[in-house]
Amino acid sequence: MVILGEKGLSGILKLLLDLVFIGGMGIFLSLPWSLGWYIDTTHALGRENYLFLLGFLYFTGFFCLVIVNEMRKIFKTLNRLNPFMMDNVRSLKRIAPSALLIAVAYVVKIIFYNTFLTIIIAMVFIIGGLSALVLSEVFHQAVIVKEENDLTI
């Protein structure tokens, strides 16, 4: 099975991320209506939580879209079979604070509206953000080695 390239696994994932980004953008823009519709349809949450959830979803949704967009950029370079470049280091450095800010928002949600799933998501984003920071340094080292190798004749 081909992993890298347009027709490989990375190509399929890039397409999936494109769909997630477009879908996410649609939900983000229609949040005031879609959240109201969700609350009215499921009755899982009361109307009194509407404003808090709206602010919470706008905040986390924005940074989620940033993460998905940066991942799309990384996968685009993977499809070109050239992942070790400074742009990817910068993308990972942008993903890290975005993920950590989402984690902070979920920690705030734990205080006000705690659920078991909220704790799990907060932990996932903390680990994800820190991993992105480490990966950015790994990519940075790889870029240095690649440049050295490219300039060895």
Binding site: E147, E148, L151, T152, I153
Partner: protein, 81 residues
Amino acid sequence: MPIIVNLDVMMAKRKISSSELAARIDITPANLSILKNNKAKAIRFSTLEAICSALDCQPGDILEYVPDSSDIQVASDNEEV
């Protein structure tokens, strides 16, 4: 970088063009250009061997050590100590 590649001098002496040398030593003209313009960070022994063989010369004819001004300053400071 204090190591200077004097490849173009040797190529002029042997009257050989860049493209011809690149073909003889089996590297791309782009890589040969990097080498000629002192942009390379390192040179493989195999490449050096191929260049010396193609130009019938010694590595010292191609590579030259020219100390940086900062290196000269450090050396003179050490002598004073």
